[in-house]
Symmetry: C2
Subunit: 388 residues, 2 copies
């Protein structure tokens, strides 16, 4: 497997576009995108477990029911969530117009919206935006930028495994505590798989990546990850493909964590030697989600007591007196008790833009890594004044 530059349009048959259609009035940033495959794809998706679901999810799930998709139409700025029946109608209308313009079936168009909850889509702007998309689709289409909201960096990746390519794009910076799926993520491949195979592989990859990421413990109403395979490059080795797909999703998850609202650094929490993998996952997510751990990491403060507390309240039974903790390679805690360490050296490590916290439970062979970021003044600033 080899990483290459670019994103989803690196995949055979896939093209995209990203443009400004007037939704993000103030910033004038791109707010509308389309991904398109020249062939109908086998496809699968995973979606938020939030009981409050955006209208686009309802429509996309329905359109994915037959395991087929050919295009995704996306807008940023307004999430089309909590918009009742009108919201569903609007999302379906987006699919209809897109299908007509592209000359494909309406049920093969998926819909995604991200941004403010509770506002209706400016449907005339969207109608205007959809006009002429067929000609605008290209290998250079800037979808990665057009789906962002409070994100500050584009999140895309592409890898090759022999003749097979996987390309993907994602967005997410706040309201990030995925449960089943996450944020928006669109993955394309020219490998040939059934939609059942795609679903299983996508779930495996998402569980290791997006579902192990947290910015603020808030699970979004609009999370979706979609995998589309058009088969143009033929059959692929399944285990190699899974490995590459895991890599793609984990890299995007890290990009989301490092771009967490206000974040200054990526925090990886690796839990080793738990009784099993599930328990390791729960503990790793507990650490990465703790406001107190996150503020200490922002302050470059090796306050490991907060990590112990987060391990302890995760809900998993542990043996407090067996736990070792490391910051990068520096041992901080041994058998549940703090060890003397060189404060200056550890603080210097913590000032880097990536910090690895390792928790060794010495109870079994379960291992998991979670991805998060620090909690800063900037997060408060961004979120105290997002709406008004």
């Amino acid at each position: 497997m080899k990483q290459i530059k670019g994103g989803i349009t690196k995949v055979k048959g896939f093209s995209a576009l990203g443009k400004f259609i007037g939704i993000k009035k103030k910033s004038k940033k791109k707010d509308f995108a389309v991904v398109y495959s020249s062939e109908v794809c086998n496809a699968a998706g995973v979606f938020t477990k939030n009981e409050v679901k955006g209208a686009p999810l309802v429509v996309t799930k329905k359109h994915l029911a037959d395991g087929k998709a050919q295009a995704v139409v996306i807008n940023s700025g307004i999430a089309n969530v909590c918009t009742g029946k009108k919201g569903i109608k609007d999302a379906e209308y987006m699919a209809k117009l897109t299908a007509k313009e592209l000359g494909i079936e309406q049920k093969n168009v998926l819909v995604a919206s991200t941004g403010l909850i509770g506002a209706y889509l400016p449907i005339n702007l969207i109608k205007g935006g959809i006009k002429g998309i067929k000609k605008q689709l290209s290998k250079k289409g800037d979808i990665a930028k057009a789906i962002l909201t409070t994100d500050t960096i584009k999140k895309e990746i592409a890898v090759k495994i022999g003749r097979i390519t996987i390309g993907a794009v994602a967005k997410g910076a706040g309201m990030i505590h995925p449960n089943m799926a996450t944020m928006l993520c669109f993955i394309g491949t020219d490998a040939e798989f059934s939609s059942g195979e795609l679903k299983k592989m996508l779930k495996t990859a998402v569980d290791k990546s997006f579902n192990m990421t947290s910015v603020d413990y808030d699970t979004s109403t609009s999370d979706m990850a979609i995998l589309m395979a058009n088969g143009l490059a033929g059959k692929a080795n399944k285990s190699q493909f899974q490995k590459a797909l895991d890599f793609v999703c984990i890299e995007l998850a890290k990009k989301i964590a490092i771009d967490g609202e206000g974040a200054t650094k990526l925090i990886e929490a690796k839990v080793k030697n738990a009784k099993n993998e599930k328990k390791a996952e729960v503990i790793a997510k507990s650490i990465i989600s703790s406001n107190l751990v996150k503020t200490a990491m922002f302050g470059n403060d090796p306050n490991w007591g907060r990590i112990m507390a987060a391990v302890g309240y995760s809900g998993v039974k542990i043996s407090q007196n067996k736990i070792d903790i490391y910051f990068n390679n520096n041992k901080i805690v041994s058998n549940g008790v703090g060890v003397k360490f060189e404060l200056k050296k550890v603080v210097k490590e913590m000032k880097k833009d990536k910090l690895l916290i390792v928790v060794d439970l010495k109870e079994g062979k379960g291992m998991a890594t979670a991805y998060g970021c620090d909690l800063t003044y900037e997060y408060i600033k961004i979120n105290a004044a997002y709406h008004t």
Copy 2:
């Protein structure tokens, strides 16, 4: 029931002291306290569910096993958590010295410590502090101040029901997301109850108050709430007593929420007409724990979409299209969709130091209220530099 000025020493037979013994070197604030009842009390406690437990909890639970207690010795500044066998020995030694000085049984002395995790108690300072406590105990003993850490206000309350008095003192401002019990809280009464009755009543009150409070989703390793009854005022009506005890705990919980680290306002989330009370509780806590809700409230921003999201990811099945939301008395959401409201008027309401969020699910008769606070720059400041 009538609220009176003062705290735990308002109860017949109870005296206390609070003083500086040298643990909080920098601030020179009071850091040591004792509560004492002239008679041996029937007593009960509830404790943190955090798997990482402070040494004082281990000792206190052991000493409470017979349902009896006569004194509590408390220090602030250092929590004596993650201190291994030495920590347990230190906590037991604190009880031993206190018992000797007061001329009571060691197993009737409870121990509590609050502050930094991972440091050993400065046992010589504590030894010095315990010397002479018998003479220092009085009705004016400033326990409420001596048990504080990052708290900015004292938290005490006393009520009378006829001849019976209940008095209580608590601390807590950060690492507040109680699970079973909370922070430190000591409640005394001169009513006569068995320790079994006390335990049941305490659990009922704690479930409605401290267990419904969150500052930062971080469950402490040192949580404990203790109820001691010396019987000096004789038997009491149980349901009246329970009502008064609920009131005492809820008022203290509110004081903890409003004094949440960096908080500028108290937020009460009231969930009405849920399928049952338990479901209402889970949803109310989900709202009060959301960083995104908390930052929006800090910004006086009626961004109700974040409340909908927090209701949705609570884990409780709900009907999104039935939900109404109110800020104080202003309806913001009707049947899951935003309604037009006077922005200026609502923002003015939000600027008050107390905000009530009401969520009406229209599904049953379950009701619960949770207590929390906003998330501010000051929280980050306090917690990015607590240790070093």
